[in-house]
Symmetry: C2
Subunit: 140 residues, 2 copies
């Protein structure tokens, strides 16, 4: 079960961003705070026991949390966003790992520096998105 502290932390974080501490917002952020790995919209929906929010509301809450920098969105080759809380360690740019068997996504610590790749002449580097694929410890 999720300890109350997650609810409290969530409420505090939302207020700090100047948003209304709605029941649903708090529940969603608290749930995300409790997740080790990145979760999809579907997974959040399924895990939100009791209060089942509207699909659209969930999308909007997730977008709001991402806009406020409380969580980050992860793109994947399965055309599904995954969401993960911005713990201090993940405020900077970082790579992601996706298990090719169970589809689990976790955040990695760092990102190779851009020195290691060369762009065509006249191209300007802005950022990079790196997803490592392989097998997680449970699937090896």
């Amino acid at each position: 079960m999720m300890p109350n502290t997650y609810q409290d932390t969530a409420e505090e974080l939302i207020r700090k961003e100047g948003g209304r501490a709605t029941g649903i917002r708090v529940k969603i952020l608290a749930l995300l705070l409790a997740q080790e790995q990145a979760v999809t919209h579907r997974e959040i929906e399924a895990r939100l026991i009791g209060q089942q929010p509207d699909r659209v509301t969930l999308y909007r809450v997730l977008q709001w949390l991402a806009d406020k920098g409380l969580i980050h969105k992860i793109t994947s080759d399965d055309r599904v966003w995954r969401f993960h809380v911005n713990h201090d360690a993940y405020l900077h740019q970082h790579a992601h790992f996706k298990c090719t068997r169970c589809a689990k996504v976790v955040c990695l610590d760092d990102l190779p520096t851009k020195r290691h790749l060369t762009l065509p002449a006249g191209y300007r580097f802005q950022s990079m998105e790196l997803t490592v694929k392989g097998l997680c410890a449970q699937c090896v």
Copy 2:
């Protein structure tokens, strides 16, 4: 305009893979052979002058070409596949560049080696997908 050689090359490549050299298959592969950069399903549809194939057929032809290793599929954060021919230089793993202004996607030459990143204990590396974002020479 597209020189005949593309049509001929396309037909030859398809036959070499044991498939029927259908009019549409040949046209699609010839078109892809002529493209410098990766193109979306939509773009292919629009550029197939004269013979406008069924959407589903286009999807299936592209999947078939990818399965046979004649082209490769590129994932992107806009949830749209892009397709590019497997020139000799692109048979190996490589990174991609996506322009944040015009959405152009080009294949880069190399990929940083996996030495430059560390996985959690027990995780097994299989491959990596790297997309560099920035501005292309035309958009800088």
